[in-house]
């Protein structure tokens, strides 16, 4: 038998974690959603004045895209947490589980509300009259007659709701909640379609199994077959236990490593985990976190370590607009992080992932261009290509003004095609990311910036406030500091980004680790 694709074995290895987390979030949201919407629906059937606003509100929530709804809860919870911190002295995490569960709970409500209201109001009025006439109290009428008769319709609503929640839960990955969405988001970023497909299939299968078991219960209720209901119920509990058992059986990880949403970050997170494992520590990862989300997650100690870039922290978190030499940025940033957020900067890895100008090596040599200064004289005869946001960014303004750059033509294109375009000669210069693997693959060179017009984006290893003085962690990660130069990082990125012989981030990280230890 031929060996399984390493991408599949890697995906399978992560399944217990992702599936378990996915099930916990979905089940909690569904349970909470039911606990809220069932009583609300019953009240709505009693008071016509409440019915319309309630259903309108639930429908409105449904029109908000799932991802936006999840994202909205982050600033909301952050605000509430800040309030509780000042009032009660303790805040809570605005990331991960809480925003996911709350958003999914809201999302789950509409089908249950609508079906319960429809189911109860759809009962033959003669039956309601009979319930009153035989001497039932309103409560007895609800429990003995209305709910049992509406149950098949309510169950159909619960089924719809369960399928929606399980599907939408994949979107909780970007707000920091591990789910089956991790396969999809990580796969999209690293163009690992096997991973994307794996995530989709896993989520769809889970939804399908839960839906079928609920359908079994629904038909059992409709046909008044206790065995069917019990079979479906036991099935659901078994699925739940099977999904959750590995999580309970496994001891909790000592360290949690974060990663943003692109290949380099996945490779570096993998590298950090490999280092930790080599030093005898267990670790888990939280991948696919947005730039703001991951920084806050570190500051609140939800993750213990990750790699960020100096320019990002300089501009986004410190609010600085000036451009300073890299050593000065690193020094000021380290002090700021420690003082303001208690975050420890263990050190820089040795490369930058900055905006840079790149050219084809032969073309640059032919024109004798090695720096941006050399480029100025030739620029009026050359075309520059940039991604959609580059020409609107302060980096471009700074560059243009510092050197007085004027190009013959400016073209905007998707970053995926940018590298190919310069390699083909469609454009002469592109705005590149300095550690991108495609720089090596297409034989490009990055032009020096003698005036330091482009802000530095040094890759730095950060530790959470709680781990700032953790000697185990510091010792395990110290060997990485200053050991990864930009060529090495490009080569590692290329291994995971290239089309043929594509490696998983973990494989690229192992290769990177070997290279580091050889030096």
């Amino acid at each position: 038998m031929s060996e399984l694709d390493p991408r599949i074995t890697e995906a399978l290895a992560r399944l217990p974690d992702y599936l378990g987390q996915h099930v916990i979030v979905s089940v909690t949201a569904l349970a909470l959603g039911l606990a809220i919407s069932l009583p609300l629906a019953v009240i709505a059937t009693r008071r016509a004045s409440l019915r319309w606003p309630l259903l309108a509100f639930a429908s409105l929530i449904q029109t908000i895209p799932g991802l936006a709804l999840l994202a909205l809860f982050y600033p909301l919870l952050l605000g509430i947490s800040a309030v509780t911190e000042t009032v009660l002295g303790t805040g809570f995490s605005a990331l991960g589980f809480l925003p996911s569960v709350l958003a999914l709970t809201l999302y789950s409500m509409l089908p249950v509300l609508r079906n319960t209201v429809t189911g109860i109001l759809g009962i033959d009025p003669a039956v309601n009259q009979a319930a009153l006439g035989v001497g039932m109290t309103p409560r007895q009428s609800l429990w003995m007659v209305e709910l049992p008769l509406a149950l098949p319709v309510i169950m159909a609503g619960i089924r719809t709701s369960a399928v929606w929640v399980i599907g939408t839960a994949t979107l909780s990955t970007p707000v920091g909640q591990t789910s089956l969405g991790n396969y999809i988001f990580a796969g999209l970023q690293t163009q690992n379609w096997v991973s994307v497909l794996f995530g989709c299939v896993a989520a769809a299968l889970l939804a399908l199994v839960v839906d079928q078991l609920l359908a079994l219960m629904e038909s059992g209720i409709a046909m008044r077959k206790r065995a069917r209901v019990a079979f479906g119920g036991v099935g659901l509990v078994l699925v739940l236990l099977a999904a959750l058992a590995p999580g309970f059986a496994r001891p909790p990880a000592t360290y949690i490593v974060g990663a943003k949403t692109f290949t380099e970050q996945y490779i570096l997170a993998s590298l950090i985990q490999q280092r930790l494992r080599a030093n005898g520590f267990s670790s888990a990862h939280r991948e696919g976190l947005g730039s703001t989300v991951i920084f806050e997650a570190l500051a609140t100690g939800e993750i213990d370590t990750y790699v960020d870039y100096s320019g990002t922290i300089w501009a986004n978190h410190m609010g600085r607009k000036d451009v300073k030499p890299r050593e000065q940025v690193l020094a000021e940033m380290g002090a700021w992080l420690r003082k303001e957020r208690g975050i420890e900067m263990l050190g820089d890895l040795g490369f930058e992932n900055a905006y840079a100008l790149a050219m084809r090596r032969d073309r640059a040599e032919q024109l004798r261009i090695r720096t941006i200064e050399d480029l100025v004289a030739h620029a009026p005869q050359l075309a520059i290509g940039g991604d959609y946001e580059f020409f609107d960014r302060p980096e471009w303004t700074s560059l243009r003004d510092a050197y007085g750059l004027r190009f013959r033509e400016r073209r905007q294109m998707d970053s995926t095609f940018m590298y190919g375009a310069v390699a083909n000669g469609d454009v002469d210069v592109i705005s590149a990311f300095s550690s991108d693997g495609r720089i090596a693959r297409f034989g490009l060179i990055v032009l020096d910036d003698p005036k330091r017009a482009l802000p530095p984006y040094d890759a730095v290893l950060l530790l959470s406030p709680q781990r700032a003085q953790d000697e185990d962690l510091r010792n395990a990660l110290a060997p990485l500091i200053g050991k990864i130069d930009v060529e090495l990082m490009r080569a590692a990125n290329l291994r995971a980004d290239r089309e043929e012989n594509k490696e998983t981030p973990a494989q690229a990280a192992r290769w990177l680790s070997e290279q580091i230890s050889r030096r």
């Binding site: 003669a126 009259q129 009979a130 319930a131 035989v134 001497g135 039932m136």
Partner: protein, 263 residues
């Protein structure tokens, strides 16, 4: 209930609906004796159902007093009152998710009878309405014919041993043959159990044949009441005479048809 007292008494009842413009019952006074079988007839919208619903407080009067066993019903807890009064609903109103036995035992269950007593009662009642317990106990309403359903409805109404049974158009949806059989059977039950029955019907002939006394409602007013014989032979009111004429003409036509023989 005293021997001389009334089982049910309506005292100058006025019932208005909605904005108070629609008057459903207009100064209705009527007393019903224990063990009496009273039929209320009248057109749709004459206030029959409203009058019936006043007895077990499914509706409250705008003005006037309803007395049940001599007691003002406003002083009685409506839930307890309804459990003491049997009710056969228009369109039967059996609970579709409950078996025949569960339907019949519902009021005893609400009254807290234990299971053994309820089961025994169900079997007695099924036999009483001429349904074989072993065959019908576990059936669902959808598995019954119209006549069977109506018999179960009657059994449910008398399950908790009420003295009073209210029937709202009970046999309206049945075919004539079944209607007659179920009606006769009920009258026998009424006598055997010593019930007081108030029945609403469109079916004048059925009402005339079953009842001890007939009350005629017309546009919210009680225009005449009396024994079937009296109303058939000496009705004072034009509308009542016209109403009672229908079964008479039908009988006459039937007799003529029989006498003429095949043509």
């Amino acid at each position: 209930m005293t021997e001389t007292g009334h089982a049910i008494e309506f005292d100058n009842i006025i019932k208005r609906f909605g904005d108070g413009q629609t008057i459903a019952l207009d100064r209705v006074s009527l007393a019903i004796a224990p063990r009496e079988f009273l039929t209320i007839v009248g057109q749709s919208g004459s206030g029959k159902t409203t009058l019936l619903r006043l007895i077990n407080r499914l509706t409250e009067p705008t003005d006037g007093v309803v007395r049940f066993a001599g007691e003002d019903v406003r002083a009685v807890d409506p839930i307890a009152l309804r459990r003491r009064v049997g009710y056969v609903f228009q369109g039967v109103g059996l609970f579709p998710h409950m078996t025949v036995a569960e339907n019949i035992a519902i009021t005893p269950r609400l009254l807290g009878w234990d299971r053994k007593k309820r089961d025994a009662r169900v079997d007695v009642l099924l036999a009483l309405v001429r349904l074989l317990p072993s065959e019908y106990r576990y059936r669902f309403p959808r598995e019954l014919s119209g006549g069977e359903r109506q018999r179960v409805g009657v059994a449910r109404a008398v399950a908790a041993e009420p003295h009073v049974v209210l029937m709202d158009e009970p046999f309206g949806a049945l075919d004539p043959l079944t209607r007659d059989a179920v009606g006769q059977d009920y009258r026998r039950l009424h006598d055997e159990l010593g019930l007081t029955t108030v029945m609403i019907t469109h079916d004048i002939l059925g009402g005339v044949l079953l009842a001890d006394r007939i009350a005629v409602l017309h546009q919210g007013k009680l225009i005449e009441e009396g024994t079937p014989h009296k109303l058939m032979t000496a009705a004072k009111h034009d509308y009542v005479r016209e109403l009672m004429q229908t079964p008479r003409t039908q009988a006459a036509r039937l007799r003529k048809l029989m006498e003429d023989g095949p043509q």
